[in-house]
Symmetry: C2
């Protein structure tokens, strides 16, 4: 049985072209970029080349503004804690949304304990943030606004450029968590006037354990990992040159192929969406109908547990998610699904298909061939299912 | 010209057996260990298997006590900041040494600014810490003692078990930075009663961008990277499964081969040491003559700049270091060489050969064939060189 993977949001295979670019680095580009000898300088050049490729993917004019980290979560920590601690004399309010990634939520909780005042802008039933709501929440005491580019759980893409204007009008630093969006939405830090932008390598089919934070020239941060002063003093620790080279190659491929890939992803995603919503009664789309990531399909099914669906599909060799993998060890329903107004049982009945580079129309058809019967079977087992659906 | 690399302390190639173990992971073990489906569970199993191998290398009884991080620097940050913030109600004094890695120095500087009282125990002219000096410095207000297992710049191995006893008698948590020592000294966290131990993967020929912190059961830390609560809540961020698998394989190989490898390294290191000290006048060993890492040779040459030696050797295709690569971008002499009592010019005249798995006796002979003439030439160019050495 060929297995089907539709949980790219939780983790992706590395593109074979990226692996090919990385492998020689393990054995040859092993110098320390801080060393003055040839081995060190070769590593430094490889890292700088990757930096330029990542900068180019996000439309950054200066490659120096890209700081490599160990991943999206670390980038978010550096952006938020780094800004809060650096700007605490200027104010103590931080504005964010109710549907940010769990790392942003937990960092904000920590900052609250340190005395910062964190305000969560609500979202509408599509998970969309209304810029007017940001305008109403922000004040001149606001030092930082942190909003995600797009939500990985429900796919909704936020009005980043408009929120950026509001943040800057009030003198706040504007951070964007683009981990879920990178490679799927045309991010441009210059056009959208973004000060800080978090990226992860694995979300563009690069290696895990690598990420980046774009730090616009002049934006000041306190580092969270101290040491030898690498990455302009913002992130100490010997540079992971092979991993960084991998992220650079992944960024280069993504920049070239994103447009076509997004079109293809949206096509097969829409086929899956139509197949589910047309053929399974009491199934509903989560997130915005049009302003959404091409790779994302979040659907909820009445009278079914998402986790039971995940297990039933897993037995058929199909990997999907019932929510954010990052928090799936807790039994709490996703804070994102709660924030868009879903009731407890609606949130628990949700399934996330996150498609990626290697999914095919055939795979979609296989899922569509199995899912309706699985839902029927699970509904038959539930005492809550109305009689007319007990078929 | 075949190049010669003798700067393993700054960075190492990844062992081909490790690369072989990692490559399939990039394409297959790409699930998120937090996911409940098969892909996720495969990643979880791979990470757990690696955890057991790393635990075994350092003699830890419980594999759960190994927390994966992005490298040695992050491990040091988590250990020190994490302990200080968690135990601040119990006291405010931190005891460390004058020859720790730059990451420990800079974290301690930061903790001083936060109100902690950091005391630096001095070392003797070999870089050895006298346990009696620790006993004199420690007090019942001491919450943390952080001492390196061995110094990477001068090779000296510290009396860890004795210092451990003193730390625990005073109720302090005992942290050991073992980044330079791992794979070269028989670390055993149970026997030496270590609470926290920092490791890096690349120092045992594993991939860069991965490290670990051993956290003895019951030792409490505040995490520095917040998010999805991975690694028992101590280190959030999706696990870098391929990198962790690589570190596990590297630990397994190291555990099997360390004894023979150390014997071999000490032999060729001693050949290099004898060849230099016997044939180059006014050359002196830095660090302890016997209690030292088998891979390390630090030598100082009067009337010569270490950086000029590095450049001259680099032109011959030989990579060595004039000090810690982590701080080589500053022109300050190494704090380690200053702490063992070297004068400014003696410190600047030092050269570090750090040998590794692939160095050979032949390479040592090639270096010995070139170095005396290079030193002579540089001495002829220096106005400070006494007449009798101007040959």
């Amino acid at each position: 049985m060929k297995r089907i993977y539709m949980d790219y949001q939780a983790g992706s295979p590395v593109d074979p072209r990226v692996i090919e670019a990385m492998i020689p680095c393990f054995g040859t580009v092993f110098g320390n970029p801080s060393s003055t000898h040839a081995f060190g300088q070769e590593a430094k050049n490889a890292v700088d080349d990757a930096r330029a490729k990542v900068a180019s993917l996000i439309g950054a004019e200066r490659k120096e503004d890209v700081v490599f980290t160990s991943g999206g979560t670390e980038s978010n920590n550096l952006a938020l804690t780094g800004t809060a601690e650096r700007r605490r004399e200027k104010g103590k309010t931080i504005v964010t949304s109710a549907i940010e990634h769990i790392s942003i939520l937990n960092i904000c909780k920590h900052l609250s304990r340190l005395g910062f005042d964190v305000k969560h802008v609500p979202v509408d039933s599509y998970g969309m943030i209304d810029p007017a709501a940001v305008e109403k929440t922000i004040s001149n005491d606001t030092i930082l606004v942190s909003i995600m580019y797009a939500n990985g759980e429900i796919g909704t893409i936020e009005p980043i450029a408009e929120i950026s204007k509001i943040a800057h009008t009030h003198g706040a630093v504007f951070h964007v968590d683009a981990v879920a969006a990178v490679g799927k939405a045309p991010i441009n830090v210059e056009r959208e006037n973004i000060d800080l932008l978090s990226l992860s390598s694995n979300d563009i089919y690069g290696p895990k354990g690598v990420g980046a934070l774009y730090v616009k020239q002049g934006t000041q941060l306190r580092p969270i990992i101290l040491g030898g002063g690498q990455e302009r003093g913002l992130r100490s620790g010997t540079e992971n040159a092979p991993g960084i080279v991998g992220m650079g190659k992944a960024a280069e491929i993504t920049a070239q192929e994103m447009k076509d890939e997004s079109t293809k992803l949206a096509q097969i995603r829409d086929r899956l969406r139509k197949g589910i919503l047309d053929n399974i009664p009491h199934s509903h789309l989560n997130g915005h109908p049009t302003a959404r990531l091409p790779s994302n399909l979040s659907v909820r099914f009445s009278y079914v547990e998402g986790e039971s669906l995940v297990l039933s599909l897993d037995m058929e060799g199909i990997a999907v998610s019932s929510g954010s993998a990052c928090s799936s060890k807790t039994l709490e329903p996703s804070h994102v699904l709660r924030a868009i107004g879903l009731r407890h049982e609606e949130a628990h009945g949700s399934l996330l298909f996150s498609l990626g580079r290697w999914n095919t129309s055939d795979e979609v058809d296989q899922v569509l061939g199995l899912l309706p019967e699985i839902v029927r079977r699970l509904r038959r087992m539930s005492p809550l299912t109305p009689k007319e659906l007990q078929v």
